[in-house]
């Protein structure tokens, strides 16, 4: 019964519309949201374990425009990541948002975005991916401008213009591609390989178009400036969007495009990946440099996301088995780490309403558990050996070496230093500055917020110690590609 894969996409969207229509009051709205996200998570687990190579055409208008869902294992991994983190974020945002007046609209779009992101994970061809890609922009836009202030509207408009510009580039690439290959389905190893090689720079042009198009969402350097300005949104939105949903779907689409559509031999033949490599390296360095002297905590984390995304793109651009695994691993680990960091910063903002670095002296003594998990997460991000950040960086470095360009590991190490440079000051000012510990009473955020933060920190550590369960799964996907 192939219909099962449509359910995890439709369920959140329907609950979203349900919220919009019946406008429930505070607590039964919370129950609806929590139950639907948990149900969704269980459904996806069920699909992963029992359903193998199942596919479903939602609507087939004509030979190019068919909405076709075909979750392979990369798609399943991404979907599990999204739905798991969505549950935690729902708990977090219920407490964070409190009960303002029109939260129904907020949670409506919140649920629709989850459905659309899982749609991206499950999409079977480039057109479905493009459709969900556009819907993602439209459904995340109201979340970004939740505050409704003039500044939020400006940031929202900027976000919209960037993503529509990216979407048009992607559309241009898809049209050119379709005129050559007449089909857009994802096939491991790429469909272009089979088509006789017309002229290489035509495919180079398509590759660059698609890379930049999806790169806008993945905060590639020239198009990254919408990410920090979208920090004006409330923390659950900015943490979810800029750690899990929007940015990662851009990366996921890039991965799909390079390995499942164009195929890496074709790109290598057209030397497209060398140009992109330069761009990715610039992203990594620029992200970390800018993050260092950012005073606002959320902006600092935003720039760190840009540089971490550069890591993942590095994995996609170096066509090596281990670097692919490293990229995918970092995609997962970065999501969990960054969401913890954002949660902690959000907790600080919500309870102490302090946002600048100077204001949070001695916060560690007031909120020990939150800041402890913040330190654990930042250690993972820097990539100190036992933690999960190190595992993915390790694979990336090996991939770089196998490919033969030596400056990849150098760049990795350099940016690991830079990550330390912008994370450690936060920890040090939190714990070692400010008034002595005994005369400060402890005021932890209530457990609706605290539980997700601690859970995530523990999850990071476990993933660090026992990553090979994940590695084998990604390895099975990667084996088909190389």
């Amino acid at each position: 019964m192939d219909l099962i894969i449509v359910v995890p996409i439709m369920l959140p969207i329907l609950t979203g519309f349900l919220l919009g229509i019946i406008k429930p009051n505070y607590n039964n709205r919370n129950t609806i949201i929590i139950s639907s996200t948990i149900l969704n998570f269980i459904l996806i687990l069920y699909i992963i374990l029992f359903k193998h190579n199942v596919s479903f055409h939602i609507v087939k208008i004509n030979e190019f425009l068919d909405i076709y869902l075909m979750p392979d294992n990369i798609g399943k991994i991404f979907a599990t990541l999204v739905s798991a983190l969505w549950i935690l974020t729902t708990f977090y945002s219920i407490d964070y948002m409190g009960n303002q007046k029109n939260l129904n609209k907020f949670f409506m779009f919140f649920m629709i975005t989850e459905g659309v992101t899982i749609g991206i994970a499950f999409s079977g061809n480039l057109i479905t991916l493009y459709l969900f890609y556009e819907l993602l922009t439209l459904s995340t836009f109201p979340l970004v401008i939740e505050k409704g202030s003039e500044k939020a509207l400006q940031a929202g408009k900027k976000y919209l213009i960037y993503s529509f510009f990216g979407a048009t580039m992607v559309l241009f690439g898809i049209i050119l591609l379709f005129s050559q290959t007449q089909n857009l389905a994802f096939t491991p190893g790429g469909i272009v390989g089979s088509v006789p090689m017309g002229n290489p720079n035509f495919y180079l042009f398509i590759y660059i178009l698609l890379f930049l198009g999806f790169g806008v969402k993945a905060a590639l350097v020239p198009f990254h400036s919408w990410l920090p300005s979208a920090m004006v949104a409330p923390t659950p939105v900015s943490s979810l969007l800029h750690a899990v949903a929007v940015v990662k779907s851009g990366i996921f689409a890039l991965g799909r495009m390079t390995y499942y559509i164009l195929g890496w031999e074709v790109i290598e033949h057209t030397k497209g990946n060398d140009y992109m490599l330069i761009l990715v390296l610039i992203t990594i360095l620029m992200g970390s440099f800018l993050a260092i002297h950012q005073q606002n905590l959320k902006k600092r984390l935003a720039y760190s996301t840009i540089s971490q995304l550069g890591y993942i793109m590095l994995g996609l651009v170096i066509f090596e088995n281990s670097s692919y695994i490293g990229g995918m691993l970092h995609m997962l680990f970065h999501a969990t780490i960054k969401i913890t960091l954002f949660f902690c910063v959000g907790a600080i903002m919500h309870y102490e309403n302090k946002t600048e670095l100077k204001e949070i002296e001695g916060i560690g003594k007031r909120m020990p558990k939150t800041m402890l998990s913040f330190t654990v997460a930042s250690i993972c991000l820097i990539g100190i050996p036992p933690m999960n950040g190190f595992v993915s960086k390790w694979f990336l470095a090996i991939g770089g070496l196998e490919r033969g360009n030596y400056f990849v590991p150098i760049i990795l190490l350099l940016s690991a230093l830079l990550t330390a440079a912008y994370l450690i000051p936060i920890i040090s000012s939190a714990f070692f500055k400010g008034k002595p510990a005994h005369d400060v009473e402890v005021s932890e955020p209530n457990n609706f917020m605290l539980v997700p933060i601690v859970l995530l920190a523990v999850l990071n550590v476990i993933l660090g110690f026992f990553p090979n369960a994940l590695i084998t799964m990604i390895q099975s996907a990667a084996s088909k590609l190389f």
Binding site: I61, I67, L138, I145, G148, S149, G156, L160, T168, I175
Partner: protein
């Protein structure tokens, strides 16, 4: 009997409009015009099924040999277009029987229904007729009834818009008549199929004569269908006319002349002849300029209806672009876009009419925060805007997609940039309305409207139109390989 449907269609419409002339009570004026439209709609469904079964129908009125008599030729594209037009007109009529009272003074209501009936009859006439002079007469009738519709409100700007429209369209029809005279002098026939036989053999000898004819037809019909440089009458005419009339005008009337241009270019002069002349590149140029500048001008508009009018100039650019490509797939997309755009544009205009009635001001600034007051209407408007901007599944996207494919087929890849650029420009002027309508706190609070509740019954016709947008999108593949 089915063979006679086109004639019966037109006859019923004209007959009922005359009967309305006499009836006094307003209620059965509406009843009659409604009845005539429903009959024509059902008949055109019958016609479409008949055409789908056998190939095209040729209907000779009067003399059998087509030398003298009027001839109707109904191929698959004509049948589908006439079905869409009758459907859209039915919805406009349904919408107008509640909203026309507010805009048009009491005594002129019956004139409104008469003109709408005659307009639809003449539009169907132009689509069906295979005879040049006969379609010229129908064009004149449609222009005059369109002028009548614009002037119904009888205010200052209406009269100015009508004068401008009348003068521009008389120039257009003068050129068209001259072109028909020219064709007649070369071929001695007035019937498209006969002319085709003669032209195919003899066009080498009359090289520049055929060029002049093509030029006259393109400019003449271009003026009437508001192709880019010749469109200056459209914004005034469409923004000052009453809402149902402006919806009918911009969705139906300007499409018919372009369809006649398609008939002339591709059925009379076959593809090879037309492509051997430079006229095709000029049309392509006109189309691409229209796409870009139409949207640019729409961005700077302050009033809602003028903005939508300029956006139909841009959409006409798409259709002319499709023709300019000069391939079979190009024309198929142009016809598909005629249908897609007719449905979307009429729903957008009707919704904007409702919104203007609610905020009682034409300016776009006053539409801020309308999402709170009329969520459903703005929701429908968003759907229409999505189709214009080109979100997949909706017809806007499909015609953009196929247009660019046709461009690649012809080998002019940079033209795709123009298509995509113009769809980006569409975003720039449709989305601010939606954004300010739904979101933004300072837009929403402090919004007090005269709480004229727009009762839902007025929304049903628009709901059907929006539904048909999705349907047109869904069945696009079958539609396209029909043409």
């Amino acid at each position: 009997m089915i063979k006679f449907i086109p004639l019966i269609n037109i006859l019923i419409l004209i007959l009922f409009s005359f009967i309305i002339l006499i009836t006094k009570k307003e209620k059965n004026v509406k009843l009659m015009s409604f009845a005539s439209n429903i009959i024509t709609f059902l008949l055109s469904i019958l016609l479409l099924t008949r055409v789908l079964l056998e190939d095209f129908i040729v209907l000779n009125l009067g003399k059998n040999n087509s030398l003298l008599g009027i001839q109707f030729y109904i191929g698959s594209s004509e049948a589908v277009i006439s079905l869409t037009f009758t459907f859209v007109m039915l919805m406009i009529l349904w919408f107008s029987n509640s909203s026309v009272k507010k805009e048009v003074s009491e005594i002129r209501i019956s004139f409104f229904y008469i003109l709408i009936n005659i307009l639809l009859a003449s539009l169907l006439g132009v689509i069906y007729s295979n005879d040049l002079f006969n379609s010229y007469v129908f064009i004149e009738v449609s222009t005059l009834s369109a002028c009548g519709l614009i002037i119904l409100k009888d205010k200052k700007e209406n009269i100015k818009a009508t004068v401008k429209y009348l003068i521009m369209s008389t120039i257009g029809s003068g050129l068209v008549l001259m072109a028909i005279a020219y064709i007649y002098s070369i071929t001695g026939h007035l019937n498209i199929t006969n002319i085709n036989e003669v032209i195919v053999s003899s066009y080498q000898s009359h090289q520049n004569a055929v060029l002049i004819i093509l030029g006259l037809f393109t400019v003449g019909l271009g003026i009437k269908s508001a192709v880019f440089p010749l469109h200056s009458w459209l914004p005034d005419a469409h923004s000052s006319a009453p809402t149902p009339a402006s919806a009918a005008l911009s969705a139906l009337v300007i499409k018919v002349y372009v369809f006649m241009l398609i008939k002339i270019l591709f059925r009379m002069f076959t593809y090879e002849i037309v492509n051997s002349f430079i006229i095709m590149d000029i049309i392509l140029l006109l189309g691409s300029m229209g796409m870009i500048f139409g949207s640019i001008m729409a961005i700077f508009q302050k009033e809602l209806k003028r903005m939508i009018a300029y956006s139909s100039v841009a959409q006409m650019g798409y259709i002319v672009f499709g023709i300019g490509l000069g391939t079979i797939s190009g024309t198929a997309i142009a016809t598909y876009h005629i249908i897609g755009h007719a449905v979307t544009k009429s729903s957008l205009f009707l919704i904007s009419g409702l919104m203007i009635e609610k905020t009682s001001s034409k300016k776009i600034e006053d539409l801020k925060g309308i999402g709170r007051e009329m969520p459903i209407t703005l929701g429908l408007f968003t759907l229409g805007a999505f189709s214009m901007v080109g979100i997949p599944i909706l017809p806007g996207f499909i015609s953009k997609w196929y247009l660019s494919l046709a461009c690649i087929e012809v080998g002019r890849v940079p033209l795709i940039l123009i298509i995509l650029a113009s769809s980006l420009l569409n975003v720039l002027y449709y989305f601010p309305i939606i954004i300010n309508g739904f979101f933004g706190n300072e837009n929403l609070d402090g919004k007090i409207y005269k709480s004229k509740k727009i009762e839902l019954s007025r929304l049903i016709p628009i709901f059907f139109l929006v539904l048909s947008i999705i349907l047109v999108g869904a069945f696009s593949s079958k539609l396209i390989n029909l043409f």
